[in-house]
Symmetry: C2
Subunit: 366 residues, 2 copies
């Protein structure tokens, strides 16, 4: 049976990307060599890197002062690279504390300067994005996490602030249209909507760099990577290649069509959850993520059963869904419940199967 | 025609590794999913990471206090991670300045503490490994680069010192037998002898950690990675998988057999260079690398021709060799001449073809 992949990342990729990637393992760009064994200085790979950077610029319609880099270390490495490159010890950065990774990014920034928590939804287990926040005009930057992969919330509006805005888009980059130029630094680990694990895209406004007075190791200095055209050392070549293929796929469809499909998929799945008397969504409606749909089986929905049975009912649904080919819907390890990640590459038919499994389970098993 | 890949890195991989990697792009470990889209927390991928770490420990016959990590960022990221984790501002680290990357590592260390140049061959364009050196017993560590990829020299002996020794083995790891426990930290970018670009193996003696007083970002702290079993964030999963496959290949043959073949290959190629009246080796015989064989066409070997013609003769040989399927023998961009990288996966027959091309060129073209 064909598997339907709801993993939160590494996550589902378009079938044509997988086929092209597979082909390149033994013959890359007609070289007769594997993409894994070709020099990153070969003209064939240099073109991949150049085209990947150019496609990001084109798809995001970026202004000329924006530079695109493919770095290593995952989104988590940007948690410290951002303050290392932008924040002096006596300066303050603003953080929206809206989820696990937003919080992690904030903690790392404390090693480099002052951190001000502009707002936090930690007390309610990150079940919403606060609309009340305080950001000082004089702060060095504001950091946001556009989509909260763990809890399933997403920004559907943007704070109006005077300082530069930095956004971690790891789990929703290229999933919807927006004015990408309103942000001064965007970063995203590739392994959700733009490829395989092992590379992270960074889009940075050159004008915000060069204002910190600490010594920055060359490999951690955005300016060095810009000067070296994202190749100051051997890049994570295959991961960049998979992003290159995925970007071609994104470009071909356009962000408008991708967004429309993502909205249809999410609306359909949230509607099924809202109609259910068994399953329940876990976050504020206004902030529901189009990418990671989190839900559970609340104890009240199983009359007469206690918490222990809830857990076993949730386990039972995961096993039941597996019979439909569904994998990866177990909620994040610290959260529990279910999380269906429905990134760009998830077809509508995949969501339909999940909805069918939920209805069938509710009708026959619960 | 079958290509023979002499690239210095990313570099030739065993054919069976490529085939297994290719298969996993559409079906990884019987999951019915791609290795590119499977969660790094899935039991299948966790096993890959665990087995890869265990195989490094087994092949190197490491003591219990050694920990194995697969990190991102390439060998170049270890240039700063080593001093960040080991060297306080008031302490001194010793560096053998024996090549381009050794020098680069040294420069990065200066951001963190004092650096003492134990010896240097920079003045003679890194054509040898100095045997005279001065290392203080009280220094925090000594840093060596076991094989100099750019210039083609290699340590065939080890300095006897009292302080911990750190070795960059990026271009010769698993190419020969040695007592790996004599070193306290070993690192190696995977893309030469142990897989594809995108992951770097680090072997560290736990006992040397925890003595610096600076704040270290979590992602740059060896102790955090040890505690997180090399998965504190999403690893470069596919690159780790290719290393896992390559390690299986290495283990199956054993380091003794691999070393014997590498010695045969190198001896054969150096002998051909030494017998030639056209080509000439560029480094001290005692320090010749088993991995990167550097040679050129000195002006004296083309009587009556000037420097400009040397360059064109070298270009001519590269084009001539291409007719034999030979790729990647152009010397490093700042060095010129030729460099044939004959890593573990290069068969003896590949070296034979190169020797044949050299002889044929000398006989008919020069």
């Amino acid at each position: 049976m064909k598997k339907i992949n709801f993993y939160s990342g590494p996550a589902i990729l378009p079938e044509e990307v997988l086929q092209q990637a597979k082909e390149a393992i033994t013959d890359f760009a007609g070289t007769g060599l594997s993409i894994l064994e070709v020099s990153h200085r070969s003209k064939e790979f240099v073109k991949v890197m150049e085209d990947a950077r150019a496609m990001v610029k084109e798809i995001m319609a970026l202004k000329d002062d924006r530079e695109v880099l493919f770095l290593q270390g995952g989104g988590s490495s940007q948690f410290y690279m951002v303050p290392m490159n932008l924040l002096n010890e006596n300066e303050t950065a603003e953080y929206f504390d809206t989820g696990q990774w937003a919080h992690g990014a904030m903690e790392e920034a404390k090693n480099f300067g002052y951190v001000h928590v502009a707002c936090s939804s930690e007390k309610t287990k990150y079940d919403h994005i606060p609309t009340e926040y305080s950001v000082s005009d004089s702060s060095k930057y504001l950091h946001l996490t556009s989509n909260n992969t763990v809890f399933g919330t997403q920004f559907h509006w943007w704070p109006e602030v005077k300082c530069p805005t930095v956004v971690d888009m790891s789990s929703d980059v290229f999933s919807r249209q927006m004015d990408f130029n309103r942000f001064d630094l965007i970063y995203a680990g590739a392994q959700k909507n733009m490829g395989a694990a092992g590379t992270t895209v960074v889009v940075v406004n050159k004008n915000i760099l060069g204002t910190v007075n600490r010594k920055i190791p060359k490999m951690l200095d955005y300016r060095a990577h810009i000067k070296g055209e994202s190749m100051i050392n051997t890049p994570s070549a295959f991961a960049v290649y998979v992003s290159y293929l995925t970007l071609q796929w994104v470009k071909k469809q356009g962000l408008q069509a991708i967004e429309e499909r993502n909205v249809r998929k999410a609306n359909k799945l949230y509607a099924a959850i809202d109609c259910s008397t068994l399953f329940k969504g876990t976050v504020a409606h206004a902030d529901r993520s189009l990418m990671n749909v989190c839900f559970n089986i609340p104890s009240g929905n199983l009359p007469g059963q206690d918490g222990a049975n809830i857990n076993s009912t949730e386990e039972k649904f995961i096993a039941f869904a597996a019979k439909f080919g569904i994998v990866g819907i177990k909620g994040y390890r610290t959260v529990g419940g279910f999380r269906a990640s429905i990134y760009n590459a998830m077809p509508e038919s995949g969501v339909d199967v999940l909805i069918e499994a939920m209805k069938e389970f509710e009708r026959t098993q619960a």
